[in-house]
């Protein structure tokens, strides 16, 4: 082991990285289970992205009540404080080291100094980041007025800054549509929502925003270029064909603001560095049914695991990760007689967890590749069938499998979504 620099040392059973809904739910559960837990978050406040998600639609499952993002966050934070969970804000993890199964180090910095924390387990709940304009190949001028949806939301709903007055939104996912509403409510003109796919990307209740505020939606279109001096002045939109290739059909929209809502990517760079295996489909780690990654004792929950639609599932993952950390510490590892591999069948774009023990009931989280009606979700190996009237890529499917069902499989089970 390399000599440790002169920095303060701490010691815990479990360190939770990230104070959003997954991390807070994990820390609360870990504390309830009697673990010595430390939660770290890089922001000045707890809640992750929730405090800026000021719209309702949170907590119907978890709190059995419809809340806004900040309300959901404050309820979890209240529990955390009541239980006396130790947490630090403005604390950024610099490095994770994995010395052995029960000896891990988290190095973090904070206004109080740099600390090195010895811990037995880590719950990684650092959320996701947004895809930005360069990643989706937009060319032209690099000027003010181009924001990811999250940045626009931070400016508006945390700091009280109105980014612009004539807005084009790239992406009709929930975040894009919700930002369309925020801009429209505050008096800006939302000139268009541009969607690459031939169908809208958000939940139906959010697609209604377009009707409420008379916002045109262009399906099968993409923004390819931004022009402006100092600030965005116009954006070029091109229609795409069924293979998403650009057609010659194009037009310009005058706008001073371009909001990019082109999807989220799990923030897992620090995990990759220590060799955690990543699933290219989810962008998050490969995990077993305890949400343990390929590095024993490192668990993952929330949008770092896979991109969720509902905060309720994120919190549920956090709790499971905490239970798993407890099991890991008590038994010195997560053991199973066998691991059943979960395979993606027809029209399944991504799925997690990836390995099931059959020792416990699990929730599978999956997304389809394309929308379909009247389908059957099937797992042929165990004879499971489930009728679904409609499936959409925008809506994550959460499927409960009982331990007995999983035990029926020998090595693998295949999840497919096919016409009924």
């Amino acid at each position: 082991m390399e000599p440790m620099p002169q920095i303060s040392m701490l010691s815990y059973d479990v360190v939770v990285i990230g104070g959003g809904p997954a991390g807070m739910a994990a820390a609360v559960k870990a504390k309830e289970l009697g673990l010595n837990v430390l939660l770290l978050d890089e922001n000045d406040y707890l809640g992750g992205i929730l405090p800026q998600c000021i719209h309702p639609g949170f907590g119907l499952h978890y709190f059995k009540e419809e809340l806004t993002g900040p309300e959901f966050a404050s309820r979890l934070a209240k529990r955390l404080v009541e239980l006396g969970v130790e947490y630090r804000t403005a604390a950024r993890v610099l490095e994770i080291k994995n010395y052995s199964d029960l000896e891990k180090v988290v190095i973090f910095t904070s206004p109080a100094g740099v600390y090195q924390v010895w811990t037995k387990a880590i719950i990684y709940a650092a959320g996701a980041r947004e895809r930005h304009a360069f990643e989706i190949g937009i060319v032209g001028d690099r000027v003010a007025g181009i924001y990811t949806a999250g940045e626009a939301q931070t400016l508006m709903d945390i700091y009280g800054i109105l980014p612009g007055k004539e807005v084009v939104i790239v992406g009709s996912g929930d975040v894009g549509l919700i930002m369309a509403r925020r801009f429209a409510l505050e008096g800006a003109k939302v000139k268009a929502v541009i969607e690459l796919m031939p169908y809208p990307g958000g939940l139906a209740r959010n697609v209604m925003i377009l009707r409420d505020f008379n916002i045109p939606l262009y399906l099968s279109h993409k923004v390819v270029e931004v022009r402006g001096r100092g600030r965005v002045q116009r954006v070029k939109v091109v229609r795409v064909d069924e293979n998403l290739n650009e057609t010659g059909e194009e037009f310009w929209i005058e706008a001073d603001t371009l909001v990019i809502s082109a999807g989220l990517i799990p923030s897992v760079k620090k995990l990759k560095k220590i060799g955690v295996e990543i699933d290219p489909a989810t962008g998050g780690p490969v995990v077993n049914d305890r949400l343990e990654t390929s590095v024993p004792g490192i668990f993952v929950a929330g949008n770092s695991l896979l991109i969720n639609d509902l905060v309720d599932y994120v919190a549920e993952q956090g709790e499971l990760a905490a239970e798993s950390a407890k099991e890991f510490i008590e038994k010195g590892g997560i053991e199973s007689r066998k691991w059943v591999k979960v395979r993606k069948g027809q029209n399944v774009r991504l799925i997690a967890p990836h390995y099931l023990s059959g020792d416990r009931d699990v929730y599978l989280y999956l997304r389809v590749a394309r929308p379909m009606e009247n389908v059957e979700l099937r797992i042929p190996e165990i004879g499971k069938k489930l009728r679904l009237p409609v499936v959409k890529p925008a809506e994550m499917i959460r499927l409960k499998l009982r331990a007995e069902e999983i035990q029926k499989a020998s090595e693998k089970l295949t999840v497919e979504v096919v016409r009924a």
């Binding site: 001028d141 003010a144 400016l155 505050e186």
Partner: protein, 496 residues
């Protein structure tokens, strides 16, 4: 009485000149720049190379040939004195066909003529030992160990900080509108911020050097913009250890593949000539970027998917009539010195250009330059949290907790780094708070997320330190404000 010198343009040339002229006690040096900060013109977007000096034909381009190698040698010294981020990793000019060796031999010979040390031609085995990721079609290369890379804007900032510490006065957001000439001698510079008296005017105005020269009645050259576009990839995408060039053709030096100093694979540039009136056209284009991609793939076949691109950008090079640097005291207008057409290898040549200008002042203008007794050649680099070992970071945090708080999560830039950057902006006279000014000093907003998490926080810090409303903070100068007002501005029927 001191001789008053006005340098027009705070790019790499103007800043280097300012630094060198700050050595002399009988000069009063004014550095004039129309942008809100230094280094935002040609210096901002280029390949950031300190070239080897083998490329410029001394017959055709004597100034370039002379100053490039001299500049390279000086940079080895200057990066240390000024603590400028740099890497001396050498360049490989890669041959893929037998006839390429003829061209490499020519470059080798030219290099010898220009005085470039340590160059040699290497064979396939040695080449792949150095760069295993190269195209399998590579058969050898010219190896130029003295080539390196620096951060061009950090270099300009370092030079200006050092110049200001040594008494140079900056005038930012100051646009030159005219040159006052009387009886064949310069008298000063007319600007949007009033008249600046000067006995010597140095025209280092980059793309606009022809327009500034015309203000003094000098019109024998033109500058046209040549656009080059680039891709920058995420820092976990593997790139080469050295700077890779294809063997040049008569038309082009080719697309470079390199790992820039912050560890990002970078490819580019192409070359597209624009009409003279498009000196502000910095837009990237689908065609240009396609050319860069195809070109780079020939050298570096394992380019990652396009989704790993974190930025594309374009820069303009100032191409002068005749192709060579125009560095001379103009005889018709006493005191007017052109430093024009500083295209590639301008970044490399800058320190040598600065000494050349000092020599011109002595030799051609007959001003005997007297060295200061106390001139400070050193400048301390800004604190970069990400470069500190934990125990050093801890010491700093104990003195100032802001250094413990990370603002840019991708590059681990602390609030302390950013506050220090803002202090340094003020030190050299930056009046308009811009996120870009912080970015170029700290590397914040340049990582994987491109600032979507940290930009709002940087805006808050700039607003507080500059005493303005957060929506008045700009991305890159006036006209690029972060917002149009507070969140209720439109509902109240107002906007900024």
């Amino acid at each position: 009485m001191k001789t008053r010198v006005a340098i027009i343009g705070a790019g790499i040339s103007g800043a280097s000149i300012a630094r060198v002229l700050s050595k002399y006690e009988n000069l009063e040096v004014h550095l004039i720049e129309k942008a809100p900060d230094v280094g935002w013109g040609v210096s901002k977007a280029n390949t950031a190379l300190i070239h080897g000096g083998y490329d410029d034909d001394p017959e055709k381009y004597p100034m370039r040939a002379k100053l490039c190698i001299r500049g390279n040698r000086l940079w080895h010294q200057w990066v240390k004195e000024l603590q400028i981020p740099h890497v001396w990793n050498g360049a490989l000019i890669v041959a893929t066909k037998e006839e390429d060796f003829d061209e490499l031999e020519k470059l080798l010979e030219r290099g010898h003529k220009n005085g470039v040390p340590e160059m040699r031609i290497i064979d396939r085995d040695e080449l792949f030992h150095l760069e295993p990721g190269l195209t399998r079609e590579a058969i050898g290369a010219l190896w130029v160990p003295i080539v390196g890379q620096i951060g061009p804007i950090p270099a300009v900032i370092a030079l200006v900080e050092n110049a200001v510490a040594n008494g140079v006065k900056t005038h930012l957001e100051t646009e030159v509108r005219g040159i006052k000439v009387e009886n064949g001698e310069v008298r000063g510079v007319e600007t949007n911020n009033g008249f600046i008296e000067a006995d010597i005017v140095i025209n280092a105005a980059g793309l606009y050097a022809d327009e500034v020269a015309r203000m003094a009645g000098i019109d024998y050259f033109e500058i046209h913009p040549r656009k080059g576009e680039y891709y920058l990839f995420d820092d976990d995408v593997p790139g080469p250890g050295r700077v890779l060039f294809p063997t040049p053709t008569p038309i082009s030096k080719g697309i470079v593949v390199t790992t820039e100093i912050s560890g990002h694979l970078m490819i580019g540039p192409n070359a597209q000539d624009l009409p003279p009136e498009e000196k502000d056209n910095l837009a990237t284009t689908e065609e240009g970027l396609r050319e860069v991609w195809e070109g780079a793939k020939k050298l570096w076949p394992n380019l990652p998917p396009k989704s790993r691109v974190i930025r594309t950008f374009a820069g303009l090079r100032p191409e002068p009539t005749g192709g060579d640097f125009i560095i001379k005291a103009e005889e018709e207008v006493w005191g007017f010195i052109n430093v024009a057409g500083i295209r590639s290898p301008g970044l490399t040549s800058a320190p040598a250009i600065a000494y050349e200008v000092a020599e011109i002042i002595q030799r051609d203008l007959g001003i005997n330059l007297v060295e200061k007794e106390k001139w400070n050649p050193y400048r301390k680099e800004i604190t970069h949290f990400f470069m500190l070992p934990p125990e050093k970071a801890n010491e700093l945090i104990k003195k100032n907790p802001a250094y413990g708080k990370i603002v840019c999560r991708c590059n681990h830039v602390s609030e302390g780094d950013i506050l220090e950057a803002i202090e340094r902006m003020k030190f050299i006279g930056v009046k308009t708070p811009s996120v870009d000014s912080v970015k170029f000093r700290t590397k914040s907003t340049t990582g994987t997320c491109q600032g979507s998490f940290c930009r709002p926080k940087i805006v808050q810090l700039l607003a507080k330190e500059y005493g303005v409303e957060p929506w008045e903070v700009t991305l890159k100068g006036k006209g690029s404000e972060i917002g149009i007002g507070d969140v209720k501005a439109l509902l109240r029927g107002e906007e900024a």
